[in-house]
Point group: C2
Chain length 127, copies 2
């Protein structure tokens, strides 16, 4: 058994519209913008008018899209559970995995940030 939580929305933009898309969502959500240190292709919106974190990703190639991150305290078990539920693994990175749902939508399974919000809101699954 492990815990999961969907809380991050990511706007993915190819290079030609990335800056305009990033700056639009910062204005739309009354947020600041902070570039990722480890992953410079990501910008985090700072204090967005949203219930969870909002990121903007610079894509090497288009089209624009939106994806969600599913956080887990056991990403391996979570990916296995989702594959059993019908997901297909598209790509694996050191830190996270990109499955696609049965409709073809990619999303990410990422290590949980084990903060107070995760402790309060995460769900136990896989039992």
């Amino acid at each position: 058994m492990h815990r999961i939580l969907l809380r991050t929305v990511v706007f993915d933009f190819p290079g030609d519209v990335h800056d305009a898309g990033r700056d639009f969502w910062a204005t739309a959500l009354d947020a600041g913008v902070r570039r990722g240190r480890t992953h410079a292709e990501y910008h985090a919106l700072e204090h967005p008018a949203a219930v969870g974190p909002v990121l903007v990703q610079h894509l090497g190639a288009g089209p624009s899209r939106v994806h969600v991150d599913v956080e887990s305290d056991d990403t391996g078990a979570e990916v296995s559970r989702l594959v059993a539920a019908g997901a297909t693994v598209v790509e694996r990175f050191d830190d996270w995995t990109v499955p696609a749902d049965p409709g073809g939508l990619p999303f990410c399974v990422v290590p949980a940030r084990l903060d107070e919000d995760f402790a309060r809101d995460a769900r136990t699954v896989g039992g």
Copy 2:
């Protein structure tokens, strides 16, 4: 001045993959499924493992995508503000409006559900 909050994520699926996509996300987020009364093309996931509401929409035509809803207590003022920030209005319905961001991603501006969470988390903008 008015208030806004991004809290709903919507998975949009064309007919051939809609049921599989809906059922996958219900399993993934350990949620029930409830069909919309007023808008039968929507299903709400009940008590999803997520920080905000999650909906699944049956699209008349593809491709699959994800969009977000921006809630506001003054949707007219909010759409005007977002258009000034670079959005384009794609479609207007009685209750809500579909703008697209500068990267071409459609999203919805919808009337806020004026509950305790909105009161606590919404942001005042347009001042």
